[in-house]
């Protein structure tokens, strides 16, 4: 796994350098990898400070989005009125791009972290809710019959059967959430902030410090990849009974 990562990164850097040589692009359009590496070292403290802000926003957004999403999915499943009245609203709300409401959030929640956490929360809320609700709804009818015959209560059936049965589906939702949560946070920072990687990139771009902008971008990408594989690992460990489909044989 680690070796594969190293190979992928090496190949990407070589391709990058090749593009720089072939196109003869000036450094303020596409800085060569070496310059970006230097910028990363030179501005390390500054980048790490802004990165830590963005990471906190993303992680808190993930936690909030998953918690609210899980509660919503349970409420939609459990209460008919919530299903009938709230579900259409939920779907309709997805027609509204998060980008479009970013300024409104800024207005309401201010310039600081709150609005960015809200953005990340909003952008992952729907995939998490939809995935968990689907998982909870599509429990094998054989299991449900067995639970009814055995005299299960709603609570115990949820605990021992519906919820664990929904975990693989929830896992897919979480993977998507991990991949898109950084979008929410960074868009929030672009719209208005004085900290975070999104802010740093805009700021560097305005001062034509393109190498610094690329360095910030690299750190963001690295964190996003780390987050995705971290969550993927946790999901696989939790859903241990799901053997991976053997892709080679199909």
């Amino acid at each position: 796994m680690l070796r594969r990562f190293a190979v992928i990164i090496a190949v990407l850097i070589i391709l990058w350098q090749l593009v720089v040589w072939l196109t003869q692009a000036p450094a303020f359009i596409l800085p060569p990898p070496y310059d970006v590496g230097q910028a990363l070292v030179r501005h390390f403290d500054e980048i790490m400070f802004h990165a830590s802000v963005t990471m906190v926003e993303i992680v808190l957004g993930l936690l909030l989005g998953c918690t609210i999403g899980a509660l919503s999915a349970w409420a939609i499943l459990r209460f008919r009125h919530v299903r009938n009245w709230f579900l259409p609203v939920l779907v309709a709300s997805q027609a509204l791009p998060v980008f479009a409401i970013a300024p409104v959030l800024m207005l309401w929640l201010g310039f600081g972290m709150g609005s960015k956490i809200a953005m990340a929360t909003l952008i992952i809320y729907f995939p998490v809710t939809a995935a968990l609700y689907d998982g909870l709804r599509n429990t094998d009818s054989g299991w449900i019959n067995l639970a009814r015959i055995m005299g299960a209560s709603n609570h115990t059936a949820l605990k021992y059967i519906r919820l664990p049965a929904a975990l693989p589906s929830l896992g897919s939702g979480l993977r998507i959430a991990a991949a898109i949560a950084p979008i929410g946070a960074v868009v929030g920072e672009w719209v208005g902030s004085s900290t975070g990687l999104g802010y740093l990139m805009l700021h560097a771009n305005a001062r034509t410090q393109v190498d610094l902008m690329f360095a910030a971008l690299l750190v963001l990408a690295a964190f996003a990849v780390f987050l995705y594989f971290g969550i993927d690992y946790l999901v696989k460990r939790t859903v241990f009974w799901q053997s991976e489909t053997n892709l080679e044989t199909t």
Binding site: D140, G142, W143, N145, L146, A147, R148, I149, M150, G151, A152, S153, T156, A157, Y160, I161, P164, L167, F240, W241, Q242, S243
Partner: protein
Amino acid sequence: MTSVALKLSLSYGNECIFEDFSLELESGKLVCLLGKSGSGKSTLLHFIAGLLPSDVARGSVVTDDEIPLGGRIAWMAQQDLLLPWLKIIDNINLGSLLRGNRTKQDRDQAQQLLKDVELEGVENRYPHELSGGMRQRVALARTLAEQRPVNLLDEPFSGLDASTRYQLQGLASRLLANRTTLLVTHDPLEALRMADQIFVLDGRPAQVASPVTPPGDPPRQLADSRMGESYTQLMHQLNHPEVNQHAA
């Protein structure tokens, strides 16, 4: 011990599947309902288990002690229905877990049942680590752990290979002895091996012919020469529905 008499009319959509149908399960006996696919045998079993919504199924199930059957049956299906996230011992104790009252006794009983189904030592494994035959043994243990007056078995061995099926039929037959059981199957040999009484289900609305009672006690050896006559009888009823209608 409970004997169960059931009478029902049942329609699904516009189709009448059972009309004034009646069947008696004698206390402590294994009754087998034999029928082709689509004969309504599985629907009947779901009705007895109370799994059909009341607007499609009208009918009554009468027990000799006049206590309703709800909460007094155990269910075993063709799929083992083991929960992949629970250890084998928790799967066997699923009933008590779902009712929120598992005790040390239940655990001990589960261990004993694992011995009975010849699977000692797998209590802390997970279902995906076991073969199909082993999993169905666990399902049998889970059914027995319920200790219910009536056991309903819906083609429990259909998914297994022939030799595993044969072993499990023998095992289940011994462990279910003296428990009121209704077994539904499409396999005449399974019926002959396990049942005290066999009813062939056929037609629309479904009827049963007079029961076939194979000689000797289950589990029977299919090589037994006396089986031939019962087998012929069953195959005749299965293939000549008009005979059933007269007999019924």
